[in-house]
C-alpha cells in the first residue's frame, strides 16, 4: 500500500507537469499578440516614439520572460511545497 507522502508527491508532479505544458502552450498565443502590440506602438522606431510608449514597449519586451519565470515559479513552487523543502 502506497504511503500518503508518496501519493502527494505524485500528484504534485502531475499538477506541475500540467502547469508547465499549459504555460508553454500559452506562449504560442502570446507571441503574435506581442508582435501586434509592438507593431502598433512602432517600438522599432525608437527615435520617434514617446517615453511612455518606450516604457510600454519595454513592458511588452519583458512579457515573455516574465511569463516563463512565472510558469517555472509555479512548477518549482508546486513541487517543492509538496515536498516540504
Amino acid at each position: 500500500m502506497k504511503s500518503k507522502e508518496g501519493q502527494t508527491l505524485a500528484l504534485s508532479l502531475l499538477t506541475s507537469l500540467f502547469v508547465l505544458i499549459a504555460g508553454v502552450i500559452m506562449l504560442n498565443f502570446l507571441l503574435p499578440e506581442i508582435d501586434i502590440f509592438r507593431t502598433s506602438l512602432s517600438c522599432s522606431d525608437v527615435s520617434s516614439i514617446s517615453n511612455g510608449t518606450k516604457v510600454l514597449c519595454l513592458i511588452s519586451d519583458a512579457t515573455i520572460p516574465y511569463w516563463i519565470v512565472l510558469v517555472f515559479s509555479l512548477v518549482v513552487g508546486g513541487i517543492t511545497s509538496r515536498l516540504r523543502i
Binding site: I34, D35, R38, V46, N51, K54, L58, D61, A62, I64
Partner: protein, 797 residues
C-alpha cells in the same frame, strides 16, 4: 601397304685373335683389313679400301637398316684373355633422311638390344662406339663419343647364331648406310671404369662416394686403388688410398674428401701384381664434379650492342644461400636474388666492342668458386646523317612555316643527338652542324634491327625566321622512318616570351625542361622547347595570336602546365619539389602575421560588414593566401585570394542577414602545404521575445534619452550613476535588512552581480577616462577582483 624391306649387308666379321702375346699392356691401332675377316653375302657390296669397312646397302625407300655381322660362335674365347679388350669403332651414318632419328643396336635376328638412340642424325662428323668386352662375355659396355657408358647384357643373344650391329631409322622412311672405320683395339691388364658420380656432376652435399669397378685380367691380383682429385688447373687437391685384394672384378668406394665448393676433376688409379710385376691402370678420362652448388641454367644474350640493357640470370641450387657476383669484363657487379635465380642487368658501355667474358663468382662460407667463363659479343651502334654505308633511315627532319604551314628550307647551326638502345644510362652522342639550308635531313642508324631512343638538341633556323630549339625526346625509333616536322615562325609573326622558373623557396631552377605546344590543324605540336639556364630562364619565339600550352618539368618536381597567350614579357613559374629528401619547412607559422576583422565575436543581424583577412610575413614565401565566407548552412558568401609571396590585405563585404553565424575559412600555402584556419562570428538576432531583446531595448531606449536620462550634456553619466547607486543601495540594503549579510564575500558577490548586470544594460556611467577600457567594464573587473580576493581571504582563514 607398307612393306618391310630389309636391306642388309651381312659381313661375317671373324675376329681371329691368334696371339694374345702380341697384345701386351699397351694401346695399339690395328689395320681393319687385317683384323677383320670379311665376307659378303646377299646383294650388298663391301669396300675395304683405305682401312675402312664400308657397307653399301641397296637403297629401299621407306625402310632401311644395315647389319654388320660378327659370328659369336667364331669369336675367340674371351675368358682366356690375359687383357681387357676394348674396341673403338668409329662410324658414320649417312644417306636417307638425316633429320630423322636413328638408333644403333645389337641383334641376332631374334633379340634387338638398342645401345644408342639419337634425336639427331648420326651423320658427319660421325661418332665413336667404344665397345668394351668383359672376360665373361656376358656384358658389353658401350659408350658413344666418350659419353656415359651403357652396359648391355648380351647373354640374351642366342649362341651359335650371327650377332651384329644394326642401324635403324626410327621413322622407317629413309635408307641409311653405316660406315665403320678406324677401329682401335686396346688391351689392358687392369681395367678401371669410373662408376659414380657421373661426369659433370653437381654434388650439393657431403654425403656421397666416389666409386669405380676394377677388373683384373687373368693372372692379375688386385693390390690397391687411389682416388685423386685435381683442381681445374691440374694441381692435386686431395688423394685417398685403399688396399684391394682378389682376382675378380671389384667395386671400390671412397668417401668424399672435397671440402670447398668448386669444380674438380677426379679419377681412380688401380694396381695389381702378377709374378712380381705391378700393373696399374687409370680410367681413360677423368670426370668433372662441381661440389656445393648446382647450376641449373644460365640465360644471357651471346650477342648484343653498345648502350643496350642486358640481363644475365643464373639459376642455382646450393647447400647454403651463396653470395653471387657477376664478373663482367673484369668488373664485379652485385646480383639480386629471387628464390634460386640470381640476376643482374647492365648497361653495356657505349664504347665497348668485341667479345667480353663474364662468369659468376659464387661464395659460400668464405669459399669461392667461379663458374666457367662465357662470352658476349658487343657490336657497335651508330646514328649519323645517312650515308652510303649507314643508310637505314630512322629520323627524317623537315621544316614548315608555323603560320601558313608551307614547307621551307632550314639549316641546323648545331645539333647534338644523344642516343641509346637500353635504359639510357649508357649512351652515345652525335654532333651535327649544317649551315646550308635543306628541305630535309635524314638520319640513319645501324644496326637496323634495333630501336633507339634519342634526346635531340637541335637548333634550326631559316632566313627570315627566328632560330628555334627542338629538344623533345624521341622514343623507340625504328627502321620504319619517323618523320618529324619542325616549325619555324617568321620574324614578323612572333614575340619573345621569357619564363623564369623558381623553386618553392624562390631559388631559380636551372635544367628545367620546357615545352611549348599549340594546336596546328588537328595536332598539338611542339613549337618551342629547351631547358632553363642557370638563372632559371628560357626564352622562346612564339606567336602571340595562339593559345600555347607550356609544360615545365624537372626531375623531383611535379609537372606544371600553363595555358597562355605569349605577351612578350617575363613570366615567373614556381615548381614545388615533391622529393621526400628535400628538407621541408615544418614550421609554417614562423614569421606569419594574421589579422582578422571585424574583431568582435558578435555581429548585428542584417548589417553589412567589411570582412578583412590581413596576412603578412617576414620569413615565409606564400604561394597563395585567401579566404572564403560562408553562412552556417555552408552556402558560400564570397571569397578573395592573392598570390603575393609576402601576403596581402584581402577584403570582402558581406551582409549578416539570414544566418546565425558567418564563418571565415582563411588559408595560406607555403611549399605546397596549405594551412587553413577558421574564424566565426555569431549573428545577434533579436527575436523580440527574450530577455536579450528586453535589455537590448532598454539599452537602446536609454541611448535614445528615455525620460531625459542622458541629461543636458547628452552623456547621462549623472543620471546613470544616480540610478545605479539607487539600485545598488536598495537591493543590497533590502537584502541585508531582510535577510542579513553575515560575510564580506557574500556582500561582494551580490555587488559584483549587480554591477555586472547594470553594466550589461548600459546603466553604468561611462565618463571619458585615459584608458582603453570603459568605466563600466573597469568597475566590473575591480569589483570582481575584490570579490575573488575576499573569497580567497575568507577561505585562507
Amino acid at each position: 601397304m607398307k612393306k618391310m624391306f630389309i636391306i642388309a649387308v651381312c659381313i661375317t666379321l671373324f675376329i681371329s685373335f691368334t696371339s694374345a702375346s702380341i697384345l701386351d699392356n699397351f694401346d695399339t691401332t690395328l689395320d681393319t683389313t687385317n683384323l677383320w675377316g670379311v665376307s659378303t653375302s646377299g646383294i650388298h657390296t663391301l669396300s675395304t679400301s683405305g682401312g675402312q669397312l664400308t657397307i653399301f646397302p641397296t637403297p629401299i625407300a621407306g625402310q632401311g637398316y644395315i647389319n654388320i655381322t660378327a659370328n659369336k660362335t667364331l669369336a675367340p674365347n674371351f675368358n682366356s684373355f690375359s687383357e681387357i679388350h676394348t674396341l673403338i669403332d668409329s662410324f658414320l651414318v649417312s644417306g636417307g633422311d638425316l633429320t630423322g632419328t636413328y638408333y644403333l643396336y645389337l641383334t641376332d635376328n631374334t633379340n634387338k638390344i638398342i645401345i644408342y638412340q639419337s634425336s639427331t642424325p648420326l651423320s658427319s662428323p660421325g661418332k665413336n662406339i667404344t665397345e668394351k668386352i668383359y672376360p665373361n662375355l656376358n656384358k658389353v659396355n658401350y659408350s658413344i663419343n666418350g659419353g656415359s657408358e651403357t652396359e648391355v647384357d648380351i647373354s640374351s643373344l642366342s649362341d651359335g647364331s650371327s650377332w651384329y650391329y644394326g642401324v635403324g631409322d626410327i621413322e622407317s622412311d629413309a635408307n641409311v648406310q653405316l660406315i665403320l672405320n678406324n677401329i682401335t683395339y686396346t688391351s689392358k691388364k687392369i681395367l678401371t671404369l669410373l662408376d659414380n658420380p657421373d661426369d659433370i656432376y653437381y654434388q650439393l652435399n657431403d654425403g656421397f662416394l666416389f666409386n669405380a669397378s676394377i677388373t683384373p685380367a687373368s693372372g692379375i691380383t688386385l693390390s690397391n686403388a687411389t682416388l685423386n682429385i685435381y683442381n681445374l688447373n691440374g694441381s692435386l687437391y686431395s688423394t685417398n688410398f685403399t688396399t684391394l685384394s682378389g682376382t675378380s672384378e671389384t667395386y671400390v668406394n671412397f668417401n668424399n674428401t672435397i671440402h670447398h665448393i668448386g669444380s674438380y676433376l677426379w679419377n681412380i688409379n688401380a694396381c695389381g701384381t702378377s709374378g712380381g710385376t705391378t700393373y696399374c691402370n687409370t680410367a681413360d678420362a677423368s670426370r668433372t664434379i662441381i661440389f656445393g652448388y648446382k647450376i641449373n641454367s644460365q640465360t644471357y644474350n651471346s650477342s648484343t650492342y653498345q648502350t643496350s640493357f642486358e640481363t644475365f640470370t643464373l639459376n642455382l641450387s646450393s647447400l647454403i644461400t651463396p653470395t653471387i657476383l657477376l664478373n663482367y669484363d673484369g668488373v664485379q657487379y652485385q646480383t639480386t636474388r629471387n628464390a634460386d635465380t640470381y640476376s643482374r642487368s647492365l648497361d653495356i658501355n657505349s664504347s665497348a666492342t668485341g667479345s667480353k667474358n663474364f662468369f659468376w663468382e659464387i661464395t659460400i662460407n668464405d669459399s669461392s668458386s667461379n663458374t666457367t667463363a662465357l662470352s658476349q659479343t658487343i657490336n657497335p651502334i651508330n646514328f649519323v646523317l645517312c650515308n652510303s654505308t649507314i643508310n637505314t633511315s630512322y629520323l627524317n627532319l623537315t621544316f614548315q612555316d608555323e603560320i601558313n604551314l608551307t614547307s621551307i628550307n632550314a639549316s641546323i647551326p648545331s645539333a647534338i643527338f644523344t642516343y641509346w638502345i637500353g635504359s639510357g644510362n649508357s649512351n652515345k652522342t652525335y654532333n651535327y652542324i649544317n649551315n646550308v639550308e635543306n628541305s630535309t635531313f635524314q638520319f640513319c642508324f645501324t644496326p637496323n634491327n634495333r630501336s633507339i631512343n634519342i634526346n635531340p638538341y637541335i637548333q634550326y633556323t631559316s632566313l627570315g625566321y627566328q632560330q628555334r630549339i627542338f629538344t623533345t625526346k624521341l622514343s623507340q625509333l625504328s627502321s620504319s622512318i619517323y618523320n618529324k616536322v619542325l616549325y619555324l615562325l617568321s620574324n614578323a609573326d612572333g614575340v619573345f616570351q621569357t619564363y623564369i622558373v623558381y623553386s618553392g623557396s624562390g631559388t631559380a631552377l636551372s635544367g628545367v625542361e620546357v615545352n611549348a605546344t599549340r594546336v596546328i590543324g588537328s595536332n598539338n605540336v611542339v613549337v618551342g622547347s629547351g631547358t632553363t639556364d642557370d638563372f632559371g630562364s628560357i626564352t622562346m619565339w612564339l606567336s602571340p595570336n595562339f593559345l600555347h600550352t607550356v609544360t615545365f618539368f624537372k626531375e623531383g618536381y611535379p609537372i606544371k602546365i600553363k595555358d597562355t597567350f605569349p605577351t612578350q614579357g617575363t613570366t615567373n613559374v614556381f615548381l614545388i619539389s615533391n622529393e621526400s629528401n628535400v628538407e621541408p619547412t615544418t614550421d609554417y607559422t614562423q614569421g606569419v602575421f594574421i589579422n582578422i576583422l571585424p574583431t568582435s565575436a558578435y555581429l548585428d543581424n542584417g548589417t553589412s560588414y567589411n570582412f578583412v583577412y590581413n596576412i603578412s610575413t617576414n620569413y615565409q614565401v606564400f604561394q597563395e593566401v585567401g579566404f572564403n565566407l560562408t553562412y552556417s548552412n555552408g552556402s558560400l558568401i564570397g571569397s578573395n585570394s592573392s598570390t603575393k609571396g609576402v601576403g596581402d590585405y584581402l577584403t570582402l563585404d558581406a551582409n549578416t542577414s539570414n544566418s546565425s553565424r558567418i564563418y571565415m575559412n582563411y588559408y595560406y600555402t607555403i611549399n605546397g602545404t596549405t594551412i587553413t584556419h577558421q574564424r566565426y562570428w555569431i549573428i545577434n538576432i533579436i527575436t523580440g521575445y527574450g530577455l536579450t531583446h528586453f535589455f537590448s531595448s532598454l539599452s537602446n531606449d536609454i541611448n535614445f534619452n528615455l525620460y531625459g536620462i542622458l541629461g543636458s550634456d547628452g552623456t547621462g553619466n549623472f543620471s546613470k550613476a544616480f540610478i545605479s547607486m539607487m539600485i545598488l543601495i536598495l537591493i543590497t540594503g533590502i537584502l541585508g535588512y531582510k535577510y542579513g549579510f553575515n560575510s564580506e564575500p557574500l556582500v561582494m558577490g551580490v555587488l559584483f552581480g549587480l554591477v555586472l548586470f547594470l553594466n550589461s544594460v548600459n546603466l553604468l556611467p561611462s565618463p571619458d577616462l585615459p584608458m582603453k577600457v570603459s568605466f563600466g567594464d573597469f568597475l566590473a573587473y575591480i569589483i570582481g577582483l575584490i570579490a575573488l580576493a575576499s573569497i580567497i581571504r575568507e577561505e585562507i582563514r
